[in-house]
Symmetry: C2
Subunit: 631 residues, 2 copies
């Protein structure tokens, strides 16, 4: 975290100075809005939190509820989400209050006494060490609190506008604000009051029954329901030995339980199998399954163990629906149009809760969309950038639905119907990278390069998220995770791994600092710090004591703030105990340049000599600033 | 962190429910106060934060400043302080905003060109791995903010009473409130208003010029001044290569610099040697050394490097004084009297700032005193417990002053006057445990047992702080640090290491749960949870998968809250990768009971069979509750 660089800061350094629209931001919704987000769920707060780093963008986040969420539905936090939280500054805090999954117990009918369940195995949750981040369980309400906290401390000072619902949207001829959005107040003495605001962009984060989706005529397609589950968040006394461990329980007699301990040491969530849903009438009756019936069913499955429920925080019955819209925006022909209305999260994809994916994918939808809206509205990028949102995220949602269908089917399969009794456990362990959130791999596009030079850095696959590894910061000898030095501040990152001779490094650094073709020179406005758009970091393949900071090229030591202080924090060396060059397969001879997007995905891998290709990569993505460029 | 155990908690779980005096706590200072703390510096906020966990104790913290501290003097945070912050719940958060010291550069005159300085060596800061916690630099103002945040979220809901100063104190005959304390408002439209309040205890945390100390007639003794230093907190551009690394710089020409990088990536503090202070007149002139003169002096010392100062956050000249009071309370004869006025921190000991000790020792003064005041006022302990405060902490202060005198002298010694040019560095490395805060070792007393059974657990020396080690929590397989599972909640802790046969463990657990002699049975009031006073944890010497939770004795699975839920979080197993039995020298055959005080110091080590001695140990410390004891 960098602070004091504009002068001494006495208080909480995570509170950034207000800027742009964040200065004197009106409490009441204005009549003209750049980005209007509907729905303060996981996708909405992530989009808004990212946009809060763009103080030239007037973003508002409306929510029909009159207040913050109190009891949320989702609770599974995959490692990729914790990685994202780290960029938003709250991974540490939320981990401290969360339940951490390190292993999962699999219970099956006892072969010697099949009316009893018995523990069959306890596979580790992340046996391959996919991530340095944990797999957590924490209520959605808290996740949203942390994103809201981040947006309130960011330069644009965004805070949700509670008590306002979306009614409808009309496209107009207004070039500046092409959307006319009808809203209605739902609380606060203004209930029923109607408003129409003009907006440049509308983002529907309004859930499975999204009115924004309906307004643009997109439809959810897919299977409506197949299997019903009773979901109970309970405080209970139990003799079940794994009451504090994630467990999958398959009974001989009837169905299954997915058991999830929750944060705080006592609460747990049980997904209790309520059986197949045959048709509409039947599904209505299943929907009426009472808490008492669900608990009784749980106790049958748990036999010879039982739960004595003392308090229930939340109970619902839900049916698994795997549904998806074909497009996440209002564009029919991406070759000629760019979107103005975009939808995210449950508004475009729904699936079972049991793989713990919903909130996580929604957060990534928001992270993907937020910076793109920021760049386009701020004039940094052409509007075509927004077409990449649906392109990228629709495929991710399709993959998720395919995965979830397989997982849900396995979970609902009776023990005797498995050919291999270990099938469930095998699937869980083998596919761990998917539910951890790291299988997303974007295809080549205007923001994802081709794989010509992938061999220079095989451990940073183009299109996948930049995977951190340990390094040592040269200026102070601190051991750090390279990936954790990237905040969700909307900047592109260039990670430069030095070549062995350092000749290519020197030339590259000089080009970056001086050449009119350099993206830093070409696209950074002249009245901001040189690292405003591009965060450029270098990693040397030697021990940190052998790197002489006074010989590091100026491109890696940017001046910052009104005092033109030197930022020494971007110069790293390999950690001899855990060499990043080895861990990520970097070519030690030639080095490499890794281009990383604001949402942490690897956009390109290039040789140090390929400055033309680096310049060409950014040409369609970025626009030269209206004010004179730096040189 | 345990929560939801009294029902679902929607918001921030670190906000505990208000209780006792925390319910409807008056904003204005009441006329009767149990513990009145004077001064919201490090010692004062720590004492108050600890007392905030005692909702039966009416604690008020007055501060003559009208608002929170904005720029503090102290900034060095030793590992023991971070360990303490962990117990108060903010180690993670403060570490994220702090500068971390991992190594120190030693600069001396270049042997080939003595008018230039050259880097001589870069010793690691904690080469022996003394602690799992880091050595940090962060401003005192932020440390205080975090303690205040903790006290505001604690059951007693304490918040500082700003704008009130201490005037004087009179001892009275009132048995309930034996102190009459004169106060004066200093701000907020009440400036000059006088108040007299009645108090049971008065704690002077009011700094080196403490009026509370003067009021009880204690005097600072020792050397007034010897050497002067200019201290500048600056933002600067410099070619000094270690500008972001803690450095000791000795020049040929004139004097020394201690250079400390600060949080946020840019600010640094320099202690610049201003030379010997000969007498009163001279010291007056030295005190008038200007910022410009100090910076010029720094540039001479740094030659051939220099600093170009762009902004100054704080500048002062100070002289090292090593001073100490002989007693930290108002008691002359501890055999017959107990204290009512106690003093802490700089009010009783001052020393140089350069070993980074002042704030740290003050925090430990407060941690030591807070729980003792809580126990005595709450009626849990006899007043004699308070005599141990001065006994314990006066010796620590004496040791600190001895250490600091040696360190300051070395720092002020000219390079050519050293017999051994590496003397400074050797001292730094050899004595690392002292400045890290882990050398404190309390002598046998009513709260520190003798060493008869120390051999059962050689890695937990009686009188030193309980040193954490890794364990695995049985209920969920989480890898954890055993010591980090102890919050600063005022409870005593019994860490029970199982014997190999587990027969002794079973007997001990049955005794603890059932015997009228058991401290849990004898001292826990009957209307509170069984773990209200004693937090009892067990560690098994086997892998966690081999511990059957259903066979763990009930003493380690306490019921909690209105629903009588089971707390599974106190049962641990050794981590096969880092066996705590091996790391801490626990007797695997016999096991051991480690008794740990609320301030984390090991009070006793006993065999599992020595239940009589355990009962006898607590007999003089604790009082049976006025309500009927549990059995």
């Amino acid at each position: 975290m960098q602070f004091h660089h504009h002068g001494y800061v006495s208080g909480d350094p995570s509170i950034e100075p207000a800027a742009g629209v964040g200065i004197d931001r009106p409490d009441d919704l204005p009549d003209e809005i750049d980005v209007l987000i509907v729905g303060a769920g996981p996708a909405g707060v992530t989009t808004a939190a990212q946009l809060a780093q763009f103080p030239n963008v007037n973003t508002r986040l409306i929510e029909s509820r009159a207040h913050r969420l109190e009891v949320g539905q989702a609770d599974g936090i995959q490692a990729r989400s914790v990685e994202t939280f780290q960029a938003f500054g709250f991974a540490g805090a939320i981990t401290e209050e969360a339940y951490r999954i390190t292993e999962m117990a699999v219970w099956r009918p006892d072969p010697d006494n099949p009316s009893h369940i018995a523990r069959a195995s306890v596979p580790a949750d992340d046996p391959q060490g996919i991530s340095e981040f944990p797999h957590l369980i924490v209520n959605q309400a808290r996740v949203q609190d942390y994103f809201v906290d981040f947006m309130e401390k960011s330069p644009a000072r965004i805070t949700p506008d509670y008590g306002i619902e979306f009614v409808g949207v009309t496209h107009t001829d207004d070039a500046d604000y092409p959307l006319s959005v009808q809203l209605r107040y739902t609380a606060d003495g203004r209930e029923g009051e109607q408003r129409t605001v003009r907006a440049r962009y509308l983002v529907g984060c309004d859930g499975a029954h999204s009115k924004v989706r309906k307004a643009i005529g997109r439809e959810m397609r897919g299977q409506q329901a197949a299997h019903a589950w009773g979901v109970v968040d309970a405080l209970a006394v139990s003799d079940f030995p794994d009451i504090r461990k994630k467990s999958i329980i398959q009974s001989k007699s009837g169905g299954n339980i997915l058991h999830i301990p929750r944060e705080g040491g006592h609460l747990f969530r049980m997904y209790v199998d309520l059986g197949e849903v045959a048709g509409d009438d039947h599904s209505r009756s299943i929907r009426q399954t009472s808490l008492e019936q669900t608990v009784a069913r749980a106790n049958e499955i748990l036999h010879p163990y039982s739960i004595d429920v003392r308090s229930v925080a939340r109970y619902s019955v839900y049916e698994v629906g795997h549904r998806l819209t074909d497009k996440f925006d209002d564009v029919n022909d991406p070759a000629s149009e760019t979107p103005h209305v975009l939808i995210t999260g449950d508004a475009c994809h729904t699936h079972s809760a049991k793989a713990g994916q919903g909130m996580n994918v929604s957060i990534q939808d928001g992270f993907n969309l937020g910076w793109k809206l920021g760049y386009v509205v701020d004039g940094r990028s052409p509007a075509a950038l927004l077409n990449t949102y649906s392109e990228e995220r629709q495929e991710v949602a399709q993959n998720l639905i395919d995965f979830d269908r397989e997982w849900s089917t396995l979970m609902a399969t009776k023990e005797e119907d498995f050919d291999d009794p270990g099938a469930l456990e095998d699937f869980y362990v083998k596919t761990a990278e998917f539910p951890a959130g790291f299988m997303t791999e974007y295809k080549p596009s205007m923001i994802t390069g081709d794989t010509t030079y992938q061999s220079l850095a095989v451990g940073f696959p183009i299109g996948k998220r930049f995977r951190s590894a340990p390094v040592i910061r040269v200026c102070d000898g601190n051991p750090l995770q390279l990936g954790h030095q990237a905040r969700a501040d909307g900047r592109w990152r260039l990670y430069v791994f030095a070549d062995s001779a350092e000749a290519a490094l020197s030339s590259w650094a000089a080009w970056l600092a001086e050449s009119p073709d350099s993206p830093v020179v070409a696209y950074t406005p002249d009245k901001v710090d040189i690292d405003h758009l591009f965060d450029v970091k270098v990693v040397y393949p030697r021990g940190h004591a052998d790197v002489d900071i006074s010989r590091v090229p100026a491109a890696f030591l940017p001046h910052t703030g009104p005092f033109e202080l030197v930022n020494y924090d971007n110069v790293f060396a390999a950690d001899p105990e855990a060499d990043i060059f080895k861990q990520r397969g970097i070519d030690r001879e030639q080095g490499a340049v890794i281009v990383v997007r604001p949402d942490q995905y690897v956009a390109h891998v290039l040789p140090l000599g390929a400055t033309d290709e680096l310049a060409a990569f950014f040409a369609p993505i970025l626009r030269k600033p209206k004010a004179t460029a730096r040189r």
